[in-house]
Symmetry: C2
Subunit: 513 residues, 2 copies
């Protein structure tokens, strides 16, 4: 997905259905800052939605130190009409029964504003049939997501015979704006693209269990220790291209095409889901899950997905690229909100004269065996604040690309309190001094929730000509900003910890007993 | 995989075939410290093997800061007999043609030692047929790996009619010892388990392209932005269990079983690979790959796999668990090699009186926009050395579990040189002083390749009763070790950087122009 493709955040969405998919949609939209109104006739609909929201918040807190936008309100309402009134997008996620969906979509489209997109989450029913009674069928489209909706970016878009091209473009813009990756299915077909592939694998898996070749756990192991790892980054075609070596796809097909004639799948039939097969599936699946509840398994799945997405983001590839774009969007939204009114960095000064340039959520992977944030992550958070300071003075990545950069040469860090996973930490920053080639920075790391001071850090940075590797004077523009910031902060008292040294003299050669 | 299952590192393996799979096996075994002798009649066999070795080294350098064991030698030999002589395991990876494999396996088994396991990498040919002319068919087994063999842990084991149970157990122990995850296929069946699943999905994917429903890139996107992410951690059964909600597999099947009757896959036939379909596949695959060569795509794939495995290791789940076990094995091997001869930590002292407890390879994700290692990663490497020091004095994780731990309260870090991705860094450590509740540590971070001093770091640690959160005396045992180490290092000169402070006085309020 290119950032150039249009995005458009819906102001309000109306959701119909609060099952696994509907709850996931509620979380996906709310976390992106969209107001959600949801209807489901089930008495416990609110519980499922709130559980999905809690899982989604937890997952995104773990996935990204960037703060999400202000969360959209989620309101459980009492009728279809109440859910869709004033919505820009209606998303129906009822059970996979055609007649049920046709009636529900008719009712919703009659009550929704004329401009609203009417979308269904169906995994594979044909949109031309589902649109039978829709009011304004040109605005109807399939928007098929994948569980968990708040983490997996894929959403398949498929129009029916009467769906307009504008509807598909507008729906794609809505989904992109909430961090998803739309895939337009150009031909209306049962199962679209993804579910045809999933069903082929799933039906083969059922045959393996039905024929007693493998247990459900063995089938799963055959996926997750092998091809499943590849499929998280590359699909089956690009993967096989690589198996063919340098000669490309034609060579691969010449080499492996003949195996298509081998009896390597059970393609000619679908297993009958009789009592015996059903009992076997249930028994083996229970054994596989062991003592874990579905909620625990969901947490494990989400944690693994977060870790996989985190890794792919680091590579800037596949679904990781989609996550990185979501973060850029969130950062931009936060920067817009904090934009200095007079266009100078002085506006970044808080009323107390401190700079507040960075905050972060402690990630689960930052915890060590003592159960709290490991020491180098303290430096990571304050170093990110140093990076924000460098951007503020006009010496960030673009400046570095021009052949100059400030390098940290010395750090003095004091650890004052233990931070735990999920803690939100905020940094305040002071410029203590500078000359043409250096500046002296002091950060305090706070935990706003209880006002605790977590750490202080003092840094000396030197301005370097990166072509020669030698210290060199900074540009006039950067020195101007430093001078103004220094003047602004000159009245603040010198921090007690500044200029301190580690006093180990009394310990040296001590006889301790 | 439980660590309790037997492992047994083969001393030497004989490999037959140097294609994508054979080269991958060479890298997998060599990196684990196994000697490899390989035969392939192709004149450029050595090139492919060396390229695979280079990719494998790069991938594992990125995946793990733990140093791999001493690499096993890889020798390209001139005959089957030369490859298998004196081997504990013969691994055949010739093209997927039954007659070719039968002849090759007959020749290899006649020349191999009687105790050698004879394994084939076939993706789906039946072992009872491949064993037709094997000398000692009880020792013949399928060991089917997945590309890239040096990263993906799965290996399917399948015996033929005459294969002994001991052979399967021994082969599993060999594969586990080189960091793989054996899956025993209990019934001999074409395609085993994994390739039946892969082929079902692959044949459906070919239909989608043959019917012009989707391009190869759209098929791949439908996988990697959706279900593929899940499949890297959980297989299809556990994934669907979660889609059913709290009521388990029976509820899921009741809800989704009826969709088995929907025409959601193209199961009844296999597409004919005619010229037109072949041309379309080639054209679309070329477009998907764009300007990237296969070597570049392989690097991208490996980097993504490394990132995914890294993430799953953090969660301790699935393939990440297998990686963690490999690292534990490597750490244990390194510790065995460095085991103190007199049973005391004094043996950890190098001849110069310094402690050498930790080294690390700079990971690609540690680089910032300046193109070198970002500042907090310096602290990560020396903090890992502090952890190694804590383990040395008997105050590591087990000690912390008992309610006491040393916490770093103050750090002074000087950055002296820029580290780059792939640099190997080594830490030397000195105990500068201690009393009952504190110790004072000094690390130097070196780059052995050029002898550069990269950083120094000075730390004060306090011993804490983690129940009360207060400083408390360390145990007698820990204090004994500290006293002995202090005595050993007392003659070393005090480092010039110890006790220094950041001198910002001259910059304060300076008028810089």
């Amino acid at each position: 997905m290119s950032t150039a493709e249009p995005e458009s955040l819906p102001r309000r969405v109306g959701l119909l259905g609060a099952g696994v998919i509907g709850g996931g949609w509620a979380a996906r939209f709310a976390l992106a800052g969209v107001e959600v109104r949801l209807f489901d006739p089930a008495p416990d609909a609110a519980d499922g939605v709130h559980a999905a929201l809690a899982r989604a918040r937890r997952a995104w807190d773990r996935l990204s130190p960037v703060a999400a936008p202000h969360e959209g309100a989620v309101t459980i309402v009492e009728s279809v009409a109440d859910a869709v009134a004033d919505a820009d997008l209606v998303q129906e996620s009822a059970p996979e029964r055609e007649a049920l969906k046709v009636g529900l979509l008719a009712e919703a489209s009659a009550a929704a504003p004329a401009h609203a997109i009417i979308a269904t989450s169906t995994s594979g029913l044909l949109p031309s049939r589902l649109a039978a009674d829709v009011h304004g069928p040109e605005r109807f489209v399939v928007g098929h997501p994948f569980n968990p909706v708040y983490l997996l970016p894929l959403v398949e878009l498929c129009g029916g015979e009467r769906t307009s091209a504008e509807t598909i473009a507008q729906a794609a813009a809505f989904y992109r704006a909430v961090g998803m990756r739309p895939l337009v299915v150009r031909h209306e077909i049962d199962g679209f693209i993804a579910d045809r592939l999933l069903e082929a694998l799933w039906r083969e898996a059922l045959w393996l269990v039905a024929d007693d070749i493998a247990t459900v756990e063995e089938v799963d192991d055959a996926i997750r220790f092998g091809a499943g790892l590849r499929w998280s980054a590359m699909g089956t075609f690009l993967t096989y291209r690589l198996a063919g070596g340098d000669a490309g796809m034609r060579h691969f097909m010449a080499q492996f095409g003949p195996t298509l004639q081998l009896p390597w799948t059970h393609l000619t039939d679908v297993p009958t889901l009789d009592d015996e097969l059903l009992a076997r599936l249930v028994r083996q699946s229970d054994a596989q899950a062991g003592e874990m509840t579905v909620a625990e398994l969901e947490e494990l799945r989400d944690d693994c997905l977060v870790a996989v997405l985190d890794g792919l983001r680091r590579e800037g590839y596949g679904a990781g690229e989609v996550v990185a774009e979501t973060e850029r969007r969130w950062r931009a939204a936060a920067a817009d909100g904090a934009a200095p009114s007079d266009g100078t960095p002085r506006a970044a000064l808080a009323a107390d004269g401190q700079l507040r340039l960075h905050d972060a959520v402690v990630q689960p992977g930052w915890i060590d065996y003592n159960g709290h944030m490991t020491e180098f992550r303290y430096l990571q958070v304050v170093a990110d604040a140093t990076d924000a300071f460098l951007s503020l003075i006009g010496a960030g990545p673009e400046y570095a690309a021009g052949g100059h950069s400030f390098f940290t040469v010395e750090t003095h860090l004091r650890h004052l309190a233990e931070a735990h996973a999920g803690d939100r930490l905020a940094v305040t920053t002071r410029l203590l001094g500078h000359d043409e080639r250096r500046f002296h920075l002091f950060h305090e790391l706070h935990r706003p929730a209880d006002g605790a001071m977590m750490a202080t850090s003092e840094h000396m940075l030197v301005h370097v000509d990166t072509n020669t590797g030698r210290a060199a004077p900074a540009t006039e523009a950067v020195l101007d900003v430093l001078a103004r910031l220094a003047a602004d902060q000159r009245e603040l008292p010198i921090p007690e910890a500044a200029g301190r040294r580690i006093d180990g003299d009394r310990l040296r050669g001590a006889e301790c007993r």
